[in-house]
């Protein structure tokens, strides 16, 4: 896994050098195998910095799809070429990289950025340059307040938002574990928005929020929160912490012996984080996303075969990686449909497009608010799992969930 990644970055590195040299000297050097000039896509991934853990899946999802597209003859007879930019998990660097990719590398499209903050950093660049950005991550939904990071006609969302990731499963968990929910999240927009939307649905179903806590980043110790959870007699913990905090909290909750009588539902811990937690700590936890490596989907089998062939049998992919994979394919489909690479035409073509081969099942991009219609899965972590193949037990599956309309001036 490490090795594969090393190879990738070395290759991209060479590409970077070659690109820089070639861009000035002779454009023909790159296009040796192709008569036509490539369609360039700038991919901004968190390759170093705090969210490096997600960076591999993030980048390889897109790379895999581009390989498939090019192998099948490219789009409009032209290959797709990736130009990579490392976000260093820093919004400040995203601004630099997005501009570099557009102004210097002259990419036709942008894909990636990982967090909402990173996407927001790219927002003004996208708006100003009139390019498209394809964003893969689960996120808090769109509202006009954060324009141009959202509600931007140049940005397409390929990940789920709370009405897709959370709403379909509230009823099930309440029926099974009780109505007393305790909400814990990191202190920023995504957890707060997610909880707000969660409560909307939850109240409707007659649940009771017995506590709601937001934790600053990099908090090492959780005694007082755990005490609050216990004192509140919570039956379910609804959990939206991120990064290392999610691991710290869950290890300490487990150490406090609270997993036995309190159910935990997380909307953040996909394959990568769950692997980091280990089987003891994670057993029994509910997780909901649009994609898991273990979903029972014919598309997924084929996808994983290709993924493992390329990145090794142990490589992990997750909702973000698949979001990037879908983004690449749908971009290619849209270009083909539009018959051109110019932004307006591709934007129009991408809206309303459906990608049948998406690993999680067919995915449709809504035209008016650029949100994806996705499946939604609720999984429970198995006891004594040994790897991603036996990590999750499918509990609920909805083949296609429409997100609530974005709170933007529609259509975008």
């Amino acid at each position: 896994m490490e090795k594969t990644f090393g190879r990738v970055s070395r290759r991209t590195a060479l590409k970077g050098v070659a690109g820089a040299v070639a861009a000035m000297a002779a454009p023909s050097v790159i296009t040796k195998a192709w008569a036509a000039t490539p369609i360039k896509v700038g991919v901004i991934s968190p390759l170093t910095g705090a969210w490096t853990v997600y960076g591999k899946a993030h980048y390889s999802g897109f790379e895999l799809a581009v390989g498939e597209i090019n192998k099948a003859g490219g789009v409009l007879g032209r290959p797709i070429e990736i130009v990579v930019g490392d976000s260093k998990t820093e919004p400040r660097i995203v601004v630099e990289q997005a501009n570099r990719l557009i102004r210097q590398e002259r990419v036709d499209f942008l894909a990636g950025t990982f967090s909402s903050a990173e996407r927001n950093a790219a927002g003004p660049v996208v708006a100003q340059s009139g390019k498209l950005l394809l964003y893969p991550t689960w996120y808090e939904g769109q509202s006009q307040e954060f324009y141009p990071g959202v509600c931007n006609k140049g940005i397409f969302m390929f990940g789920p938002e709370p009405s897709q990731q959370v709403w379909p499963h509230v009823d099930y968990i309440m029926k099974k574990h009780g109505k007393r929910f305790f909400l814990i999240g990191s202190d920023y927009a995504w957890p707060r928005e997610t909880n707000k939307m969660f409560k909307e649905k939850f109240k409707e179903l007659g649940g009771e929020v017995v506590g709601e806590v937001y934790i600053p980043f990099n908090t090492p110790q959780y005694e007082s929160v755990l005490r609050d959870i216990r004192n509140a007699k919570a039956e379910v913990v609804f959990h939206s912490l991120t990064g290392s905090d999610t691991v710290n909290f869950r290890r300490q909750m487990h150490a406090a012996g609270m997993n036995k009588d309190i159910a935990l539902w997380t909307v953040d811990d996909e394959e990568v984080v769950t692997s980091g937690l280990g089987p003891e700590v994670s057993a029994g936890t509910y997780v909901s996303f649009d994609y898991f490596m273990t979903i029972d989907q014919p598309n997924n089998k084929a996808f994983l075969e290709k993924f493992r062939a390329k990145y090794g049998p142990d490589a992990l992919v997750n909702t973000v990686g698949v979001g990037m994979y879908n983004a690449a394919h749908m971009l290619a489909l849209a270009i083909a449909k539009a018959g051109a690479t110019d932004t307006a035409k591709v934007r129009d073509a991408l809206g309303g497009l459906t990608f049948e081969q998406a690993p999680q099942g067919p995915v449709r991009m809504r035209a008016d608010d650029h949100q994806a219609v996705l499946p939604s899965y609720l999984m429970q972590v198995r006891n004594n799992w040994t790897g991603v193949n036996d990590m999750f037990q499918q509990v609920q599956a909805l083949p296609s969930v429409d997100p609530v309309p974005a709170k933007c001036k529609l259509p975008l």
Binding site: G16, T48, R92, S116, G123, Y188, F217
Partner: protein
């Protein structure tokens, strides 16, 4: 005779720096003429990093105070401008925002500085406090989301330069923004340089060399340090405000410890005792970082770390002090 020698030597050095500065500024002026695109877009941001580096060099090189809190002021500036620019104001809100950025940073720095310096908090302890400042700044930016947008950040518009209602000069395009930043940077450099050469600047140098002696000469060391910290905070904040305006986006990590550390690294490597070196350091280290990060992200960071250690251990003055002696142009005092 000997006096003349001493004097002459000092003047030579000054002249050397002025020539380098002039060449640098001319080069920077010429760049948008000969090229366009990404370079013209990105260089102003690096020039603002250079200004930020100067704000640290003013403290560290001239007064001997190291601050791991410069990023906090940088972020303060960005947020202040961003928040004010959202308000509908009778006069150009960007001007008000820049003023607020300058004044608020100077005031906060003055308050914190006076609070600590008047009690004699020095050296390593002050470093810790500034480290905490960065952490607090980032926390506030994350948690006070009604003002700052929290982790999702805050968007800014490119400002217009206006003069009454007659003249409006938009900075939306790359080249105008470039020149606006360049002008601010040159003026900041000139002002800070004049400051370090003024009576006040010499008193600061005296404090760096021997604090106790300065007190015994009747100088209020806490007051001088506080003023220096306030000026430094204001410059950092101004550069942050312009950075926010230029990049269109500010987020909490701009005020964090990691960015603060980067600033210290730029200045240490380039040379803390010269404003010009710090300026060049801020511009070049971040440019090279951008260039190399896509080629070798892991090893680049490692190299920077090792270079930092080498500079601290063997070349206290950084590249700026090492270069002249390498060129054999500058002999140390007898």
């Amino acid at each position: 005779m000997s006096m003349a020698v001493a004097d002459g030597r000092a003047r030579n050095r000054r002249l050397g720096e002025e020539i380098v500065a002039a060449v640098l500024f001319l080069l920077l002026t010429a760049i948008p003429v000969v090229t366009s695109g990404y370079v013209v877009y990105i260089l102003p941001q690096y020039m603002l990093y250079g200004m930020l580096a100067m704000s640290l060099a003013l403290l560290w090189g001239n007064v001997g105070i190291l601050s791991f809190g410069q990023a906090a002021f940088f972020a303060l500036g960005g947020y202040a401008l961003g928040i004010v620019m959202k308000e509908p104001l009778a006069i150009n809100p960007a001007y008000v925002g820049l003023l607020v950025a300058l004044v608020s940073a100077a005031l906060i720095a003055a308050l914190v500085g006076w609070f600590l310096f008047s009690a004699g908090v020095r050296d390593s302890y002050f470093v810790l406090v500034t480290l905490a400042l960065s952490i607090i700044a980032e926390q506030i930016a994350v948690s006070q989301s009604q003002w700052t947008g929290g982790w999702n950040g805050l968007f800014l518009m490119r400002m217009d330069l206006t003069l009454g209602s007659a003249l409006t000069y938009s900075l939306t395009e790359d080249a105008p923004a470039y020149y606006a930043v360049l002008v601010v940077m040159v003026i900041t450099y000139a002002v800070l340089r004049a400051l370090t050469r003024s009576r006040f600047g010499k008193l600061l140098a005296g404090i760096r060399e021997n604090e106790l002696r300065m007190t015994s000469l009747g100088v209020s060391v806490p007051l001088c340090k506080t003023l220096a910290f306030a000026v430094s905070g204001a410059v950092a904040s101004l550069s942050g405000a312009l950075y926010g305006m230029h990049s269109g986006f500010v987020s909490p990590s701009l005020g964090g410890v990691q960015f603060s550390t980067e600033i210290v690294v730029w200045v240490a490597i380039a040379g803390r005792s010269s404003l010009l070196a710090a300026l060049i350091g801020g511009i070049t280290v971040s440019s090279i970082s951008n260039l190399l990060s896509s080629i070798t992200p892991q090893y680049w960071q490692l190299c920077i770390g090792i270079l930092f250690i080498l500079v601290i251990a063997y070349f206290r003055g950084g590249v700026a002090a090492a270069l002249p002696s390498l060129l054999g142009r500058f002999r140390s005092h007898p």
